[in-house]
Amino acid sequence: MTNTYDPNIPQPLDALADSQVDLLSNFIKMSEVFANNHIPLESATTADRGKHGEIELVQRVNTPLNSTTNLSLYTKEGTDIESQLYYLPKDPNSEIQITNYQNYDVSMDDSRIFTFLPGGFIIYFGFFTMTSAGPFQFELKPRCKTIDSVILSPKLPASQFVAPFVQTTSTKDDEGVEYENIVIAFLTRSSGTINQVMQYTVIGKL
């Protein structure tokens, strides 16, 4: 902060010679502060002034209040203790956590992709190759605390028709925290062919 904005100037008995410095200081300060996140007041493109260049959201402690037709976007501490983006469509009881994972980049390895869904969900998808009819264990990374749904879909010609079957199981980390992060796949009605490519979609919570 270079100078301070003073909302209490000019005072009734101030001479213009005194106020001029205060007025100038406030105008400079407004310009500097407004330039944070916003297209500057001095922008050569008049129509852009007041628009946002970015929106930095300082972490809040509380859920804000909304009117019935407003929406709010803000950041709060998420379940993983990191700042996360939240969305408030209506009243405070309708708060939705939008993001939930930021310790690693969203993977783009096409066999192991994950991203997030609003609500604190993480969704994994990709494929693995089963070297037998099963059980074949596939570990989800990053680990999730619960698995809410698993879909398996064999990538096979019709002549090798199989029906997948799935189970899940848990592991514990060094501190004893339990993660339901293992998918166990089986092939039924298998014609005996192995090295089957299995496409998967898993939805869970961190």
């Binding site: 904005y5 209490n8 000019p10 007025l23 330039a35 944070n36 959201l57 939705i96 869904l117 189970q167």
Partner: protein, 196 residues
């Protein structure tokens, strides 16, 4: 007093302008505090939140900008919308609720799509109807896979657990479970995506 953007005038004396200037500086300070970290504080100018008031229509976007805004969605609720540059086709980004507990959970995806997923326990052999809440405009896909923690792998080497989602409606789909053997309890995991 409200903010006055027409002062001071050329012939105003300072005794006249002082109150008007003071009022404007106070109004600027108060107005800026809404949604922003106040001036004279660390992070001044950054946002504490972004409140979007509902707009009457999509804003125009230039060639090098995009917009996030609030419009009435197809379900008559305020929704978050995104418009790409050059007045591109707007996309509804939100739905007003998610469900994060229980056997049927749901989230949403830009489109707008509702993403249902979960588990159904104790499936019957034959046709089972999975009901989805809320109803969607169109149910686009439904997929399901058999699961059971009670069933040992050795028990189903010769079994077949084919399961076929079918009969899509706006709030349900059927799964036809047709095992080749006589299974004990069976559950399914499912995933369904519909248009809001």
């Amino acid at each position: 007093m409200t903010y006055n953007n027409s002062i001071p005038n050329a012939n105003d004396f300072i005794i006249q302008s002082q109150g008007q200037l003071l009022n404007n500086f106070q109004d600027i300070f108060k107005a800026f505090n809404i949604n922003h970290v106040p001036m004279n504080q660390e992070n001044e100018g950054k946002h504490t939140l972004t409140t979007l008031e509902r707009q009457g229509g999509a804003p125009a976007t230039a060639a090098d900008e995009c917009a996030l805004y609030n419009l009435l969605g197809t379900d008559a609720q305020s929704q978050l919308f995104y418009r790409p540059d050059s007045n591109g086709v707007q996309i509804q980004m939100s739905y007003q609720t998610v469900v994060t507990t229980g056997l049927q959970q749901r989230s949403f995806m830009a489109g707008p799509f509702i993403f249902f997923f979960g588990r159904v326990d104790n499936l019957n052999v034959g046709l089972n109807t999975i009901t989805l809440t809320p109803a969607v405009t169109t149910l686009l896909t439904a997929q399901a896979v058999c699961t059971s923690k009670e069933y040992a792998p050795s028990q189903f080497a010769s079994q077949g657990f084919a399961i076929s989602p079918t009969n899509f409606t706006v709030n349900s789909f059927d799964v036809v479970f047709n095992p080749t053997g006589a299974p004990p309890k069976f559950n399914i995991y499912y995933l369904a995506i519909g248009v809001v």
